[in-house]
Symmetry: C2
Subunit: 220 residues, 2 copies
DNA sequence: CGGTTTATTGAAATGCGTCAACGATTGTGG
DNA sequence: CCACAATCGTTGACGCATTTCAATAAACCG
C-alpha cells in the first residue's frame, strides 16, 4: 500500500523499514569515526565522566538520562539513526547514555574534531549544524513538557511517526522510558494510550507496535 | 533609588548593580552589530517572520514567546545583558520576541555573520559557542519544567540570583511572565512565593525586589 | 486622586500521581 | 513444547498538587 522504492539499486539512501533499522548517510564528521556495537542496556558514558567523544547512531536507539535526588529518572533525550548525541559544552557529561536496544554507533574523538573544525570550514559548519539540531530537539522537548498528559503522549507518537515512513510506529522503548521522557508515570502513559485508542486516534498491532491515524499534532 | 553607577568612567567592564542594567563586553561578532533602543513591550520580531538578524542584549530584558491554540502564552526564553537571542536553525522565527523593560540591544545581520563565519574561524567558533549556550539554556529550562511548582519558583529565583552579585534580585517581569516561563499560573507563582517567604527562604523588599537567602537549589 | 493594572488569597474543581491488583508478554530451563 | 518465573503493561480507587474562578488588596500612572 505505501510508497514503493526502487528495489535492486545499491543502498546509498536511507533504507525502507522502521527507524530502528535504517542507516543514515556519511558526512565529513562521520569519516573521523570508528564503529561500536552495543547490546541492550549497555552504558555508553556516565554522568560526570569526561566528554571525550561525540557519537552518532547508526542502528538502534540510545537514551540519555539522569536521576533526581528523589530517585526518579529523567530521560533527557532519545536518539535514532542519523542523530548525534553526547555533545557537551562543558568538559563533563551532564547526563548518562545507554542503549535502549542493541545498537551500532559511530564514535568521534572530540579533540580531533575540535582541532579539525579550527581549520576546515566544512567541519565547523557541520558542528554548528549538529549543535543547532540538538538545540531544536531540546526546545521541542521543553514544549512537549508543557502539554497535558494526553497531549504529551499524542505528540510523542506523532513525532515518532514523522521519523518513519508510513503510519506504523515501532516503540522500541518501554512505557516507563516514555513516561520518564514525558515526565509522567508509566500508568499515565498507559491510560493516555488506551484513551487515544478508544478515540481511534491510534490502534495497536501489539503493545509496542502502534498505528497512528491522526495526521497532525493535537496541540500546539 | 539604590546602586550608584560610575557615571563618568568608560564602561569597559561589566558594571556593578542588578543584571538589568549591566553592560557586557564586546566580541568579534558584536563588532558587526548596530544598536537599537527599545521601549517596554516593544516587539522585536514576530513568529513566522524571516530570521534576518540575531541579537544581543546590552541593557534590559527580552522575552521570547509563542501562544498555544488555547490562547495560553508560552514564554520560551528570558534574556539578560550578555545573552544572544533570535538564533534560528530554519529561516523563520519560531517564536516572537519583545522587550520586557526598556532595553538596548545589538542587531547583527545573519547573512553577513554566516558569510564571515565561513572564512574566519574566530567567528564560526563564537557562533558555535553562542549556539551551545543557547542549547544549555534550553536544557536547563526543560529540567526546570519537570520540577514541582514550588521547586520551579525556587529554582527560578536561584537562577536569577546567580546572574547578579549579592542576594538581592530585581524581578523586572510580571508574575504572569514568570508563570508563563515556568508553565504555571500567576496564582501558583504567588502562592509559591508566599510559601518561600514564610519558610524564610526569601524575603521581599517590594513585590518585585526579592532577597534570596538560600545558597543552593532545593531540587535536582 | 481615581482608574487601571498587577498581586494575593480563598474555595472548589480537576488532572495526574500513588498504591495495589491483575493480565499479558517474554525468556528460560525442564 | 510446555511450565514457570520475571518483566512489562493495564486498570481501578484514592489522595494531593495545581488550576480555575472569584474576590480583594496593593501598586502604578496619568
Amino acid at each position: 500500500m505505501p510508497n514503493s522504492k526502487s528495489p535492486g539499486s545499491p543502498p546509498r539512501r536511507r533504507e525502507r523499514g522502521n527507524a530502528v533499522l535504517s542507516k543514515p548517510d556519511q558526512t565529513p564528521v562521520d569519516r573521523m569515526s570508528s564503529e561500536r556495537l552495543l547490546s541492550r542496556r549497555e552504558l555508553i558514558y556516565r554522568k560526570g565522566q569526561a566528554a571525550e567523544n561525540i557519537y552518532k547512531v547508526e542502528i538502534g536507539c540510545i537514551k540519555t538520562f539522569a536521576h533526581r535526588r528523589n530517585g526518579r529518572c529523567l530521560l533527557v533525550g532519545m536518539y535514532f539513526p542519523g542523530d548525534y548525541f553526547g555533545l557537551e559544552i562543558r568538559k563533563m557529561h551532564h547526563v548518562s547514555a545507554e542503549a535502549v536496544t542493541s545498537s551500532k554507533i559511530l564514535v568521534i574523538g572530540r579533540k580531533a574534531l575540535v582541532s579539525r573544525a579550527a581549520t576546515e570550514a566544512a567541519v565547523s559548519k557541520e558542528m554548528l549544524d549538529i549543535t543547532g539540531r540538538e538545540l531544536h530537539r531540546a526546545m521541542q522537548h521543553s514544549l512537549l513538557l508543557r502539554l497535558s498528559a494526553n497531549e504529551r503522549v499524542g505528540q510523542f507518537l506523532f513525532d515518532m511517526k514523522k521519523r518513519n515512513r508510513g503510519k506504523e510506529v515501532e516503540l522500541v522503548m518501554s512505557r516507563q522510558d516514555i513516561a520518564d521522557y514525558l515526565n509522567l508515570t508509566a500508568e499515565s502513559v498507559a491510560r493516555a494510550l488506551t484513551q487515544l485508542n478508544n478515540q481511534s486516534a491510534i490502534s495497536f498491532r501489539s503493545h509496542r507496535r502502534v498505528v497512528v491515524h491522526i495526521r497532525r499534532p493535537m496541540a500546539a
